[in-house]
Symmetry: C2
Subunit: 285 residues, 2 copies
């Protein structure tokens, strides 16, 4: 194993699932869990893999990340940025720090600005999660077959390779990408769908009489709208310019569809539907 | 059983699933299946419930609906309207006709206009289905716990009660509603989500580089976009005014969200997300 002591800051769905997998794949590793609430630590103290406790140490203090050689920040993205500043004074030289935040430019900028050059920050973003938040939903193998974006600042390639090896051991696929490209892409694939699902919920579920008419399609389309509001507020505002661009694209696209429907142009409408159907079917393969 | 001979016109996902359930719940009923393509009839001729064939008779000719006392039209909604005209000359007095179309005003108007008063037309719309089309996806119990909208023209209450009894036997819940209310509601709960999912697919999946970044949330949100394009073209254009209203609501809602994101007003954005989260969580209960 490339790391002897991993500290996970924020032990909810992602942090908890990561801890489960690390304990399973690396029985000898020391895992410290840091959380904001004692109730989370109490819950975490009971989690085992087989007979072994998953967490060797649990703490409410970020200072207890000082002795780790791998720190994984699994907190909301604005919290990550604040915690990087606090960690700057604590971490030992050679420590590798990564995160799982859904917006990467702001995190990379913060890391470059506040961390000493002796600490290796590699931005991370696993394409895994759910609309359920909290340690209670943590599961093994959450990252199997998921892409895991890595943003690697120049000069930190060796640390990134060590981290990528761990990620592959968990069954995920490292995808090396620059922070700006990452943020533009996830604005489309993740942040826009979240806002669209939330907006759809808001205009449809405000009418009591619709309830008997909600079938599986509506449930699927809006499932992600149940995601944790403060976390999503952070993500959206941290990636604000790209989310605005994505929303403008969506508004323009829906306006096109409305105009085609209004025109009654059946072949044009069928062509639009067929393109979308074909593209979506590709994902089922 | 209230009916001795049921003819199902259009034996795809809905018509096929309906036939399976009728055979199971009413072993003595005669079931005729009518389809446009011989290949569908060939496939249908092999379907059994236990040892019994589901279909007693299969035909390519709508004329073979003449001797049924219950006719269920499971074709696309514009086809339903055409078939009502053709059936008008064929059906025996007292026959009950229903459909499963997703837009009800146009169907009810056609029925009232073309059918003789001796035939009972009850508009129907089960809230069941999937993004998969075709007889191959037909399953038993598709309608269990689903709402099944019924539009009952004055004077046809007795026929409607006989039909509702069958629907309840299949495990579904009849919901009596007027056609205009139905069309306004499903524009929001079904037709709008379809267009939104299709528009989202179109702007996101046009970029090859997004592929590694598509997680479960995007798949859920866009699943329905894989639905049958000609069927959806028909539904949308048949319910055109209500779909336009729903799209205008959605465009206005997304514009509000974009403006809040642009303003950077974190409490306002969190309030919007929290409302949507709370409303969506209600559906999980």
């Amino acid at each position: 194993m490339n790391f002897q002591h991993c500290t996970i800051v924020g032990i909810g769905l992602l942090g908890g699932s990561l801890a489960l997998d690390l304990r399973r794949h690396y029985p000898e590793i020391i895992i410290t869990g840091i959380a904001r609430r004692q109730a989370t630590l109490d819950e975490a103290s009971l989690i085992r893999h087989g007979k072994e406790l998953v967490f060797n140490r649990l703490s409410l203090n970020l200072e207890d990340a000082a002795d780790a050689d791998l720190v994984v920040l699994c907190t909301p993205v604005q919290t990550i940025i604040q915690q990087l500043a606090a960690l700057a004074k604590l971490l030992k030289p050679g420590a590798v720090v990564t995160d799982v935040g859904s917006a990467k430019r702001a995190v990379m900028n913060a890391a470059v600005t506040v961390l000493p050059p002796t600490v290796h920050f590699i931005g991370g973003h696993p394409m895994a999660g759910s609309d359920r938040a909290g340690l209670i939903f943590a599961v093994p193998d959450l990252f199997v077959d998921a892409s895991w974006a890595l943003c690697i600042p120049p000069g930190h390639e060796e640390a990134a390779a060590k981290l990528a090896e761990v990620i592959q051991t968990l069954g995920a696929h490292p995808v090396i990408i620059d922070a700006a490209s990452h943020d533009a892409i996830v604005a489309l694939t993740s942040h826009l769908p979240h806002v669209v699902a939330a907006a759809l919920v808001k205009i449809v579920l405000s009418h009591e009489e619709v309830m008997p008419f909600l079938a599986g399609g509506f449930r699927d389309t809006t499932r992600i709208a149940a995601g944790n509001p403060p976390m999503w507020r952070d993500i959206i505002l941290t990636n604000r310019d790209q989310v605005i661009s994505a929303l403008n694209l969506m508004i323009a696209e829906l306006t096109t569809w409305r105009d085609v429907v209004r025109s009654g142009d059946a072949p044009h409408l069928e062509a639009l539907l067929t393109t979308a159907c074909d593209q979506r079917e590709q994902l089922n393969k």
